[in-house]
Symmetry: C2
Subunit: 355 residues, 2 copies
């Protein structure tokens, strides 16, 4: 192995690349990884030196706190390649900021920019070949942190591992997305960890999602757990509702993830002169709007799916179909956002960062 | 290594035991493990053969779902040694049952009794020497299951690992326990996973617990997340309140763990002729009762601490001290329960199981 030593990151390159064995036209989301990963351990109160090395399994104690107490957080980002073979990432400062907010909520150490951002840039530079050209092709980026300290006592760990792994991807969802509005199960509690990208928030949704899928729905729109009257977000997407000419989306709160796609779409929509209101959206409101025809669109927004138009929703006994549109706001905003991400349109917001 | 093969469990014995290097008088809870662990993997829709082998770290992929989505559950039990050197466990059927309820809620496969109970009995038989005689000495048992399937997509894993690890213990808590009643943070949502022993429930409490500890409180008594008016449970204990001569404890619900200690204490108290009511206990009620002197005791109940008397509680701006009692119900019930667990008193309930 070739060992480089940059100022701040140790680099051990893989002796050969797996890239030629990958079928980039038939990728199943999140299952293929690039040649390298970044690893950085925290112990005795401080972060060690990050290392980029071949992607591989690692050893861990059966009593590691991540297994017993779920002390684990993550982020989801993407790298894009433009027509000139330049590689771009999108608003990484937002992901770093959210990651560290998640860290605080989960009693984990914050990761400094010099490890998160510089580490990400360095590994992306090494893995450039894995970012494929063409709209829809991305390299999905998964920074995450787990508690590796051992001991089966319910207390924060003193040792952590921060890692970045990379997975080439096409688009996340396919086919029509029908959703069901949650009436019993919930995603987050008041005063809970819903606003954190904490591992435990996701497995908590698997069972209700399975029940929804069995009924023919791809996603659940979560409601507030106390009254189930307010629409909050989907499993990995924030949700927008277009009623007449206005876009509505729930305000972020301690129950709702502050999505980067969400905030970017809001800015884009406002720039287009579209009226956007961040306020609680009631289930009753969209049922009424669906009935009287003023509900024009519902769509999800998140890094994985970008924008995911929803064709209809189930609430209690009834299914409400949404109008089929030629020119939807969802697709228009998706197009505008994607063009910025792929450096096909001018980035007046200063969102993109070149690797 | 010596390799045995029982009917259903492969056994690979450690070549030597660590037991002589352990200071059994100075154990820190959950940090020392016995010589062996039980491992059983689930894949392609079925459980493989359990293996008992030397306790050691194992290899896992960085993309394992347990790290990203927190798909992990556990149980907590204890083994006790009586004066005749016989080893006992307590109501293991209850833990198996709860484990499998947790599994269902977390979209994980249920573990059959032949693996959970028979596996536990077999490994305890091997580790008998690690169960020390004397009240307070126990071998803490940690069965757990983690999602080991790889892939960073928020979907249930198809591969799981069930393990049992064992840790010799003295008592869990020491010193006076002062608690604070939650006003903002919460442990569980309606329709959430609070009733499951899911890993993510525990790390979610670390940050508020840290804040409480900084203020001088060892535990938080959680309240319902919607109104913060109902007393629910503590981090790893159910909670009882004695007002005049009646014991009150919150009913189990989808927000509250159905504790084995809780249900056993209820049965014991009823046998003693003590009045027990399982119903919502309001914060206001205990504040009023503390003020007028009718609040006699508060105590936590859980496997780790058994019974943990609480000396006082903070609510908003005020601290309420509890009377110091010579003969508390807490200590009386603890004594009765412990005697059954250590085979020092007749087990009229049929709770104990001999290894
Ligand atoms: C619960 C949840 N909501 C919303 C989102 C969307 O956030 P972002 O746009 O930053 O990807 C995510 C992340 O993917 C999420 O996990
Ligand atoms: C949240 C919670 N409540 C209560 C308990 C008490 O349950 P048990 O008596 O079965 O140990 C536990 C487990 O230890 C727990 O984790």
């Amino acid at each position: 192995m070739d060992t480089k030593n940059t100022h701040e990151i140790d680099i051990v390159l893989a002796t050969s690349s797996k890239i030629n064995s990958v079928d980039f036209d038939n990728l199943s989301f999140g299952s293929t990884f690039t040649d390298h990963m970044l690893v950085c351990d925290f112990k005795e109160g401080k972060w060690g030196k990050p290392v980029i090395k071949p992607y591989e399994p690692f050893m861990i104690d059966p009593s590691a706190k991540v297994f017993h107490y779920g002390q684990a957080i993550f982020e989801g980002m993407k790298a894009y390649k433009d027509e000139q073979d330049q590689v771009w990432i999108f608003r990484p400062d937002q992901n770093l900021d959210r990651f560290n907010k998640s860290a605080v909520r989960m009693a984990m150490p914050e990761v400094p920019e010099s490890i998160f951002i510089d580490g990400l840039k360095t590994i992306l530079d090494i893995e450039r070949a894995w970012v494929k050209k063409g709209l829809g092709n991305t390299l999905y980026i998964r920074p995450f942190m787990i508690a590796i300290g051992s001991g089966v006592i319910a207390q924060p760990s003193t040792q952590y591992r921060f890692m970045i792994i990379l997975s080439p991807a096409k688009s996340y969802y396919s086919g029509d997305v029908k959703v069901i509005i949650a009436e019993h199960y919930s995603r987050a509690a008041n005063g809970g960890i819903g606003a954190a990208k904490a591992a435990g928030n996701y497995s908590a949704q698997f069972y209700p999602q399975k029940l929804a899928q069995e009924k023919g729905f791809q996603q659940i729109i979560w409601t507030d757990d106390a009254t189930h009257t307010k629409l909050e977000e989907a499993g990995t997407m924030n949700v927008f509702f277009k009623i007449n000419d206005t876009l509505y989306t729930a305000p972020t709160s301690e129950r709702i993830l502050d999505g980067v796609t969400r905030k970017s779409l809001i800015d884009l929509a406002k720039r287009e002169g579209i009226k956007v209101e961040e306020r609680s959206v009631l289930v009753d409101e969209i049922v009424t709007a669906a009935k009287d025809g003023s509900l024009k669109e519902i769509f999800g927004a998140g890094t994985a799916a970008v924008v995911s138009p929803i064709v209809g929703f189930q609430y209690k006994e009834d299914y409400y179909e949404l109008p089929k549109l030629q020119n939807s706001i969802a697709m228009d905003l998706k197009d505008k956002l994607t063009k910025i991400q792929y450096n096909l349109a001018e980035d007046t917001f200063g969102w993109t960062v070149k690797i």
